[in-house]
Symmetry: C2
Amino acid sequence: MTENAERTRRRGGGRNARRAARIEHREPMLPWLQRNVPAVEVINAEGVERLHEASMEILERVGIDFRDATALQHWREAGAEIDGQRVRIPRQLIEQRLQTVPGRIRLHARDPEKSVELGRDATIFVPMTGAPFIRDLEDKRRWGKLEDLSNFHKLAHLEPGLHSSAHVICEPMDVPVGYRHLWITYSSMFHSDKTFMGMSTTGRRAEDVMEMVKLLFGADYVDQHPVVTGNINGNSPLVWDESMLGALRAFSRHNQPVLCSPFVLGGANTPAHTLASVAQLNAEAVAALAYTQIVRPGAPAIYGHYLSTVSMQSGAPMAGTPEISHMNFLVGQMARYYDVPWRTSGSLGGAKTFDAQAGYESAATLEATVLSGANYIWHAAGWNEAGMHVSTAKFVVDAEQCAMAHKLGRGPEWEGFDEAIATIDEVGPGGHFLGTEYTQKNFQRAFFIPKLFDNNNYGQWSAEGAKEITQRALDYANKQLREYEQPALDPGVDEALRDFIARREREIDPNEV
Amino acid sequence: MTENAERTRRRGGGRNARRAARIEHREPMLPWLQRNVPAVEVINAEGVERLHEASMEILERVGIDFRDATALQHWREAGAEIDGQRVRIPRQLIEQRLQTVPGRIRLHARDPEKSVELGRDATIFVPMTGAPFIRDLEDKRRWGKLEDLSNFHKLAHLEPGLHSSAHVICEPMDVPVGYRHLWITYSSMFHSDKTFMGMSTTGRRAEDVMEMVKLLFGADYVDQHPVVTGNINGNSPLVWDESMLGALRAFSRHNQPVLCSPFVLGGANTPAHTLASVAQLNAEAVAALAYTQIVRPGAPAIYGHYLSTVSMQSGAPMAGTPEISHMNFLVGQMARYYDVPWRTSGSLGGAKTFDAQAGYESAATLEATVLSGANYIWHAAGWNEAGMHVSTAKFVVDAEQCAMAHKLGRGPEWEGFDEAIATIDEVGPGGHFLGTEYTQKNFQRAFFIPKLFDNNNYGQWSAEGAKEITQRALDYANKQLREYEQPALDPGVDEALRDFIARREREIDPNEV
């Protein structure tokens, strides 16, 4: 920061001076959340053992499919029982392999001041990904494009409550499928100097991401420092497929953290029972986590999941339901039992617009995930319509909610307590505190004032145009994008990245799925 | 219930049969929440002692105003130091008096099956009260009327997640101020057989409520059974006024639970410090709780508070902020330290419409209050615009949120675990669970399906009219009111209540404020 400011100063000129003023005025990214509030635990230690036992028995008795020849070979060599694609894993093997998963990860950003930690009491907030549609800067629902994705990366870069620009926040439908992972990764890297995610739809694409991060950070650096996270989804119940396992290997071999995420639609691909669903999810997650350690012992890995319950009538995924909160609390307990970092989803919702339903669903989920002690809160901004669209308005509101959740997780502070108590003597019964020196000095820090919530009275609100939150959020998002400045990127690195993309575009069939 | 059904059957006739069918189809009121999830604790036992010490020192050193001659006399006799209206209370006196506050209360409803308990691990959900404006069945914002209030009492009666019809959900502006407490109380009693609240704006009005509950339940019964709750608000910092103390005495003398609620606007009438705000709030609450025990030792009483933080710019109260959640967690810790039941506010919000802001604010607050272990979750349905209006749409959505919060607080259940795990063997890797017998039998109970959230896909939702939650909720509220049936009330009791109201209307100046 100091160096950048110095560089700006030396360059001089009105434009740079204005830019510097804007940047100085900006709120900096919040550090990762170092949680002080204890995690909610909804079962006791005996219950955790019972879930662990149930998961181990599932892996020993039923087994789990690894639908990938390389993985089957790896498991055979490691001592598991192989029957076709079915792998039956002795609990000792799981337990032993889990021991080398690091409990805490430092994830390095292009700007070292934006590096973050996750695991144990450390938590980061990461935008949603994977939406084919967007609600745009005018709240119109339409297919996403690369320009839209860039805008989301810019917004993610600017929001203090987000620790990552993620990757495919919306699908860039104007880019051929075969090239998308290249341009998505480039956009994440170019528009933000925060941490980001790497595409993992196939092993080969994950390898391309590895090449790109090596160009950005240097190959030796990457081998020793986590710089990019990838996610692999399990096909619940009890299946890990070839493309996901290929991506897992690409990340783990390069010492990059992979999120091992069973994709749970509670009741549809798990039993209609909360605790039994978690036992199954846990079996799936730890099997993949153990596999990362077969690929590279000591490689960082993250206990993941995507969690929803489904409506029996429609089969549609729901959000904000009590069982989803229970499952988050439970998965947190299991991850802490194994001392591995874990990932959840923060702001899920099934609403079709940014209406009150979206607000209820997101807030209920986000609060539960923070109080569950989740370390990697993905899908924490923009998610709506069960992930079918990313909403621009919701994205910036959710980002502010993340900043609020950050403060929630920090817990109340004793610092200044005696001084604050002294003001009660000063003010006395029937007085008021707004005029005291203590209040003037501490108010801003003491109480979070959400800028996207309107707390004026009805008359003021009406006089200011009677804007609902969607409109206020879009006004804000537009202003943010107007004021956005691209963080400096070494021109040589940028050229190398573009050269790499050009080469791979020549090699890849654009219509490859 | 069985008796009612039998009575209906014997009466015969098509109308009664249809009514019986409707009633049987209705979801019954949920029992009070018997919480199984541990309450969130954000400070340790030492911290609780430190807050207690700070509160006791405030009461001993600064003192607290009881602006009421009778109360001052009572405190003098009890051994406090009186200086004008200032009461300095030795900690021994507070600690001794708190010991006779019952830790748990059974609150009796007109229908004994709807009686509830609160305190320790028992929690009830109660609608909002006090709104001068409403958003009506067409979402129009206007003054409330008695007919509107009746409609809210009917909706409260019908919603499974609400345990009370409360009292003045909206102000009946068409009733003269002097008569309002009579008609509000009558409407609560007449339109619902759940528990309800009693008006406490002055001591004399609270006495009228006592007369009415004696007519409904019998004087001897009332003296031995809590049947109605009243609330008194403190004027923070450190003032209890005459009208509130008069109401407190009316309730406590009659053995009825009174909520002793400091009215906290964090930063304005408390220090700009979360923990110091709670220390002050705690001093105010325990002083009033101790006073209930001077009025009648052993009378039920509830540690209350209204909690907001204020925006420094506008002075407006905020909702859904992290510090409000912290304060709820902290107040819960203090109330458990004293082993007294405690009240909070569940679904606060400052939005002017039922937009996403309202959803975020309400869900964030409600979840924190349930996880804080609050026993009496007031303002749990309908609150918007900082309490200036009750929204009909929000009322029914919030009520369903209360049912969801109820399930959240129950925690996950082990019952059926082994049977559910067995279906994993049955289904195996790559299968699905929807067709299993276990799923068919248990799905409905296993996962909450909110009826006011839409989880259909975009196409289905569009085909069904693209209705946002406000419209769906209003459709539902209209349907509920069409199908509402007044619960049977003894005609003799009804006549006695109406006679009492008529007599008091002759005695009271209608313009009395």
